[in-house]
C-alpha cells in the first residue's frame, strides 16, 4: 500500500505512533536491563509476530490476508513494547517485500502495533479480573485484537478517502468489507493457536509470567496442575 495514504494522513499516523514507539523502546530497555529473565519471552513474542504476519491465509471472501501475531506480545508486555516489535516486522516487510510501505509505516504501526495490542491488553486484563478461564481470555484478547487492527486500517483509509455519497462511514463500510470481514476466520484461528501456545509457555516460563503480572502465583499453580493431570 506504499503511497496510498495521502497528505496529511500519513504524517498524522506517524505523529501518533512515534511517541508510543519511543516510550516502548524506553520501557523495553528498562525491562531487559532490570529483569534479564524476560528476554527469552520478548524474543518469543517477536518471533510469533514474524511468523504469523508472514502467513497469508485464504478466507471466506475469496481473498487472502494475514494474522498479526501481536496479541501475544500485548498480553505479556503491553502495547508499547509490542509496538516496537511490530515496527521491526513492518520495516522488514516494507523494505524487502514491498508489502505495507515506508509512507504508510506510521499508520501500520498504529493499527497493528498500538490499536490491536491495546485491545488485546484491555480485553485480557478485563477477562482476568472477571475470573474467566485463562485460555478463553487469551483467545478473546488475541482474536479481538486481530479484528481491531483491520478495523482501524479500514478507518484510516476511510478517513483519507471519504466516499462522495456516503462520507467516511460509507468508505468505512467498503474498506471494512475488504479487510475486517476477511479477517474474522483468521482472527479465530490466531486466537485458538496463541491460546494453545500459552499452554506451553506456562509450562516452561510460567514464573516469568507471574513476574510480568500476567497471572498470579495461585493461577499459575492451578494451570500447571491442570496441564499435568
Amino acid at each position: 500500500m506504499e503511497g496510498f495514504l495521502p497528505h496529511p494522513w500519513w504524517e498524522i499516523w506517524y505523529a501518533l505512533s512515534l511517541p508510543v514507539v519511543v516510550y516502548g523502546i524506553y520501557t523495553m530497555n528498562r525491562l531487559v536491563k532490570e529483569r534479564r529473565e524476560t528476554l527469552p519471552l520478548l524474543a518469543l513474542a517477536g518471533a510469533f509476530i514474524f511468523v504469523l504476519s508472514s502467513l497469508k491465509l485464504p478466507s471466506v471472501t475469496g481473498s487472502c490476508s494475514h494474522p498479526t501475531g501481536a496479541g501475544m506480545g500485548a498480553i505479556l508486555f503491553g502495547p508499547a513494547i509490542t509496538a516496537v516489535l511490530c515496527l521491526i516486522v513492518l520495516v522488514y516487510q516494507a523494505l524487502f517485500l514491498a508489502h505495507g510501505g515506508i509512507t504508510t509505516l506510521g499508520a501500520n504501526v498504529f493499527s497493528m502495533g498500538i490499536a490491536g495490542p491495546a485491545v488485546a491488553y484491555i480485553v485480557y486484563k478485563g477477562c482476568a479480573k472477571s475470573n474467566l478461564n485463562f485460555y478463553v481470555s487469551i483467545f478473546l484478547a488475541v482474536s479481538l485484537a486481530d479484528i481491531a487492527t483491520y478495523l482501524v486500517t479500514s478507518l484510516q483509509l476511510a478517513l483519507a478517502f471519504p466516499s462522495a455519497t456516503g462520507g467516511v462511514l460509507g468508505s468505512l463500510y467498503a474498506f471494512g468489507t475488504v479487510f475486517a470481514f476477511t479477517q474474522v476466520p483468521l482472527a479465530v484461528l490466531e486466537g485458538v493457536f496463541i491460546a494453545l501456545i500459552f499452554k506451553y509457555v506456562i509450562q516452561v516460563k510460567g514464573e516469568v509470567m507471574v513476574k510480568l503480572k500476567v497471572i498470579d502465583e495461585k493461577k499459575l499453580r492451578r494451570l500447571k496442575g491442570v496441564v499435568q493431570a
Binding site: 496510498f4 497469508k56 478466507s59 508489502h99 478517502f161 484461528l189 485458538v192
Partner: protein, 93 residues
C-alpha cells in the same frame, strides 16, 4: 490434550471453509486484501488517485517475494523452536 484437539478442530474447520469457498465460488482469486483495498480506493476516487510514492525496492519476481516471506517465517520459527527446545530440555534435565 484438550487444547490440541480444539486447535486441530478449528484448523480443520478453517481448511474446510477454504475448500467450500473454492468449490462454490469460481470467481475467487485469492489475491491480497490490500490489493483489493487499492481497488476500493480506485473506485472511490473514480480512478483519479495516483499513489504518490512507490516502494524503494520491489522483489523482481513472485519467487523472490516468496523467498523473503519464507525467510521471515523461518527466522521466527528458529527462535520459537530454540525457546521451547532449550527450556523444555532444561526442565527435564
Amino acid at each position: 490434550m484438550r487444547g490440541e484437539v480444539i486447535a486441530g478442530a478449528v484448523a480443520a474447520l478453517f481448511i474446510a471453509l477454504f475448500l467450500y469457498v473454492a468449490a462454490t465460488d469460481p470467481g475467487a482469486e485469492w489475491g491480497g486484501a490490500d490489493g483489493e483495498a487499492e481497488g476500493v480506493i480506485d473506485h472511490l476516487t473514480d480512478g483519479s488517485y495516483e499513489p504518490w510514492f512507490s516502494p524503494l525496492w520491489e522483489p523482481p519476481s513472485g519467487e523472490i517475494e516468496s523467498l523473503f516471506f519464507s525467510l521471515q517465517a523461518a527466522i521466527g520459527a528458529v527462535i520459537i523452536g530454540y525457546f521451547f527446545g532449550y527450556y523444555r530440555g532444561r526442565r527435564s534435565a
